[in-house]
């Protein structure tokens, strides 16, 4: 499936992908447990019209790369090259990074048809999100337009999806792979 505003990015250099995977999947990076899929600032109701998935509100583990990083040295060392690459290759020139967050979801039995709560990353129509897949995993990301599924992406290591941040989307929980790691980068126009 495809939608003109949602783009799969699959030409990220492998050295960037390697560095990120090594750091993010290591035992040195702190993860914070949240008992809801979404943060308080992301809540909202985005009804979707589909009968494939059961919508669930599952916990997650998150790591803040920017701002408020607890491990700024390694976060900068491994994730900054990806941000710089995005700026050079896939973003309009006036954009800068506003937030970078990692999400970790763990395997759940019989989760094939479970979908976390559909949401937007921001209501600002000028913001752009880049959802980067750190590792190969199951657990697709599903994108909606007017409540209908218009695009889905499978987590493939070293690839990502670029989309307007006000696009309604949701992630699935992995049921085959033990862990699904993504980095969600929000870009906005320079103030």
């Amino acid at each position: 499936m495809s939608d003109a505003q949602i783009k799969l990015i699959n030409n990220i250099p492998s050295n960037i992908a390697n560095g990120i995977e090594n750091w993010v999947t290591s035992t040195k990076i702190p993860w914070f447990y949240f008992n809801h899929t979404l943060g308080d600032d992301e809540r909202g109701s985005y009804p979707v019209n589909q009968n494939v998935y059961t919508i669930v509100d599952l916990p997650r583990l998150s790591h803040y790369f920017y701002p408020n990083s607890k491990t700024p040295e390694n976060d900068k060392k491994f994730v900054l090259p990806l941000i710089e690459w995005c700026k050079r290759n896939i973003l309009p020139p006036q954009y800068e990074v506003k937030r970078v967050m990692g999400n970790l979801t763990t395997q759940l039995a019989n989760a094939e048809n479970l979908l976390n709560i559909p949401h937007v990353d921001s209501n600002d129509k000028d913001m752009i999100s880049f959802l980067y897949y750190v590792n190969d995993s199951d657990g697709q990301t599903v994108f909606f337009k007017d409540g209908t599924i218009v695009y889905d992406a499978s987590p493939v290591r070293g690839t990502g999806v670029l989309f307007p941040s006000n696009t309604v989307h949701a992630g699935q929980v992995p049921s085959i792979n033990k862990t699904r790691y993504v980095i969600n980068i929000l870009f906005g126009k320079r103030d």
Partner: protein
């Protein structure tokens, strides 16, 4: 083996601090005594399958990580990881409160870990292990942060018999000798299982010299005072 309870206010505050506010955790593969040799090749313990599950931990206070393999005793003192203890007053109250209520001040606090496991896909126990070896005076208090399944099991030395079993209940915990072979099991109903593993040992620092003991006392008194106001 013995069960303990803590005040509801502290239990609520701990749950909030760890699972809502929240304390970070790090992916880990195994949680055991340093250099513990898993020499039991059995695939079961007490008749339950042993499973390899990814868990998370926060070595809040990790004296034993640096003992005695990673440096001189003098170096160890400077590596005591106290910031998280001192930031979280309910944790301090728990750690000192348990010692004062169930032990006495000759017991030193030598390790505090927060462990967290998310709901699993296959039931079983994690690799059975002791918390510490060769310290007969070490005692573990395993405190349950939230209500969960994923019972804790204590086994005999051969790991073929269950000696004790306890279901994680918020605000309660179990006390056992730190050398006891034990394991958590995988939660299959609750989304998360979190426990604090607190180890005390009688005269642990004093046995390592006056200088180290004085430093330990100075640091712990400072933290304790900060939160007893």
């Amino acid at each position: 083996m013995r069960i303990f309870n803590v005040d509801k206010l502290i239990a609520d505050e701990l749950e909030k601090n760890i699972l809502v506010d929240c304390l970070p955790s790090y992916k880990h593969l195994k949680s055991t005594a340093p250099n513990y040799n898993y020499n039991n090749k059995s695939t079961t313990a007490g008749g339950i399958d042993i499973v390899n599950v990814q868990g998370f931990t926060n070595p809040i206070y990790t004296y034993t990580r640096h003992f005695p393999l990673y440096g001189k005793y003098e170096d160890m003192v400077s590596k005591i990881n106290t910031p998280l203890i001192s930031e979280t007053s309910c944790l301090t109250k728990l750690i000192f409160g348990l010692r004062d209520q169930y032990l006495d001040s000759t017991y030193d606090i030598i390790r505090v870990y927060m462990n967290l496991m998310t709901i699993g896909t296959r039931y079983g126990v994690l690799d059975p292990h002791p918390d510490i070896e060769n310290e007969p005076d070490a005692v573990t208090f395993l405190y349950y942060v939230n209500d969960s399944d994923g019972d804790t099991f204590i086994f005999n030395e051969l790991e073929d018999k269950i000696m004790f079993r306890y279901t994680p209940t918020k605000g309660t915990g179990i006390i056992y000798p730190s050398g006891a072979i034990h394991a958590a099991s995988v939660p299959m109903k609750h989304e998360v299982r979190s426990a604090l593993n607190i180890i005390y040992c009688k005269d642990f620092f004093q046995r390592r010299g006056q200088k180290i003991y004085n430093e330990y006392v100075r640091r712990t008194n400072k933290i304790n005072k900060q939160h007893s106001k």
